[in-house]
């Protein structure tokens, strides 16, 4: 596990005996932090409770942490909506394809940028860095993507955000930290640049690549705006836009809830869709969290 900021036993060494004021502070501190945990978790628990509750209790404003009048009708409604599953599958496809492309492009560029002897390296770094602080903006991007004929194709959501400069810097910092001797030895053995990258550098970089995969995958999984902007057809949308349309009331999951009480549809269907969309992230979160943290720190060293 990551134990950031844990200076081993540090607080103890800071004073022979805790003063009375400090003991009081520690109690208050614990209470405050428990409060932070509760405030952070409450919206999750609330939405789970609402998704499982009977509509009447929700409308009466009686649901907070515990489901009232346990009811799975809304789950059945959402899960029987074929558009929901189509959109869910789209999310998975877009995430996988986009992450693959992003990883290849980011790795290649980061590797090139990590070679200090390369002529023109400063320019190559500068080209990437400048885009962190100045961007073309929404309208020119839209005009470009549209005129490239990428509207209503997967490429509209996959290509325009392929490289994140932050991730690029994290990876560059990592490559720069690798010992150069291995690569030099490989070069003596007659491996060319591609061979060195594929057979020497990448096997050493599994951890950082895993981190990058997670960074990219989460950002693509969560993204909605590009899809919202570039897709006109409902069967192309990712599940985030499905949920967006639900909360915007644009479509009330027509196929599913057409005959159900409209008000009911709005309240619980949202909760159910939120739960079903968040579930995969919550399920893997405990196992992958440390990779995120280490990735951010690696970026911070050079960032």
């Amino acid at each position: 596990m990551v134990t950031l900021g844990t200076r081993r036993d540090a607080p103890q060494t800071r004073g022979p005996v805790d003063s009375r004021g400090y003991r009081i502070f520690r109690v208050v501190n614990t209470v405050v932090l428990i409060g932070v945990v509760i405030v952070t978790l409450y919206p999750f628990l609330n939405i789970v409770a609402r998704s499982l509750s009977e509509e009447a209790y929700i409308i009466a404003g009686k649901v907070s942490l515990v489901p009232r009048g346990f009811d799975l009708t809304s789950y059945k409604l959402v899960m029987s909506d074929s558009m929901f599953w189509t959109n869910y599958r789209n999310t998975i496809v877009y995430t996988v394809v986009a992450t693959l492309i992003s990883i290849v492009l980011t790795t290649c560029y980061a590797y090139v940028l990590s070679k200090p002897h390369l002529k023109g390296r400063g320019v190559l770094v500068g080209i990437a860095l400048f885009t962190m602080f100045f961007s073309g903006g929404l309208i020119p991007n839209y005009v470009l993507v549209t005129s490239l004929g990428m509207k209503n194709t997967i490429w509209a959501v996959v290509i325009p955000n392929a490289i994140s400069v932050f991730n690029l810097l994290v990876m560059k910092a990592f490559f720069e930290s690798l010992p150069t001797e291995l690569e030099e030895a490989a070069a003596v053995d007659g491996l060319n640049t591609y061979g060195i990258l594929l057979r020497i550098v990448l096997p050493l970089s599994k951890a950082i690549i895993a981190t990058m995969v997670l960074f990219y995958a989460v950002s693509f999984w969560n993204s909605w705006f590009t899809a919202f902007l570039y897709f006109d057809r409902q069967d192309l949308l990712p599940v985030t836009v499905y949920l967006r349309n639900l909360i915007a009331g644009a479509t009330s999951a027509e196929s599913a809830a057409a005959d159900a009480d409209k008000v009911q549809a709005a309240a619980t269907l949202q909760a159910v869709t939120v739960v079903l969309t968040t579930l995969p992230i919550l399920a893997v979160y405990p196992f992958v969290q440390r990779y995120f943290v280490s990735g951010v720190m690696l970026g911070a060293v050079k960032g």
Partner: protein
Amino acid sequence: MTAETLRPTPPTPEPVPAEAGPPGRRAPGRRRTWRQALRRDWQLYSLAVLPLLFFLIFRYLPMIGNIIAFRRFKPGGSIFGEYWVGLRYFRMFFTDPTFWEVFTNTLVLGTLTLLFCFPLPIVLALLLNEVRARRFKRFVQSVSYLPHFLSIVIVAAMVMQLTSIDGTANQLVRLFGGDAVAFLQQPEWFRTIYVSSEVWQTVGWGTILYLAALTTIDEDLYEAARIDGASRLRQTWHVTLPGIRPTMVTLLILNIGSFMAVGFEKILLLYNPLTYPTADVISTYLFRMGFQSSNFSYAAAIGLFEAVIGLVLVLSANLISRRTVGTSLW
């Protein structure tokens, strides 16, 4: 520690350019001609081709595409517009009262976000740093990072559920004998809701860099402070805070850089015509101008204005901090 999963990065400064020669070959003089560099490193350069194309097409071409802010643009026509109209679109929005309204809203929301989302991670990191029970600390950290991983759509949906007529916020209002409020329909509530949801989503994750910086503070400094009779509070003030100052400054500059772009996606999901008076910001206004009124050139002019202000802000913040505290991004 991270070292278990990732190779530790020695905090060395930028590598010295002359030091590392190409693998297996003697480095010639530092001044190489492009022809020599290309002959020797063409394989490396070839790896950069696709990423470079990406940057040029999808990052730099749109920057040039901003030229339509000065030209008449026809949908379906050239992406660089048809003919010059000079500063017409800029004059248009400078005289547009709605523009100044959304400009003000942007400043207010940006300032409020900065005021809460910049210092609170520092406070939380300091509090976490005082926790001795490691398991409890780890648990609080894990939980507080969680909201960072949610899609903005999900956060918006949660906000809507919590603030709805039958939601938690109104349950509390009723508990204290008040009448239910349609929070998201009321302009005076929008800023509170927006900033709270930003705090909820970003503060935990924001502690990571500070917690990392806290581990690098030299233990001897605390020892010395203690011998000088400094209380716990004074140690925090005189040792801890100066120790994390570079991190604070760096993050402050970055925050200022994104000042103008205040949570466009979240506002787009949460606002509605009723809350426009406080919720509508530059980016959402230009979004409506572009995609609902199909006035691309006008919207592009506003976008360019916003981007230039953002750039100027980050450059000046960087300059000021380099002059005053000696920390800067580059």
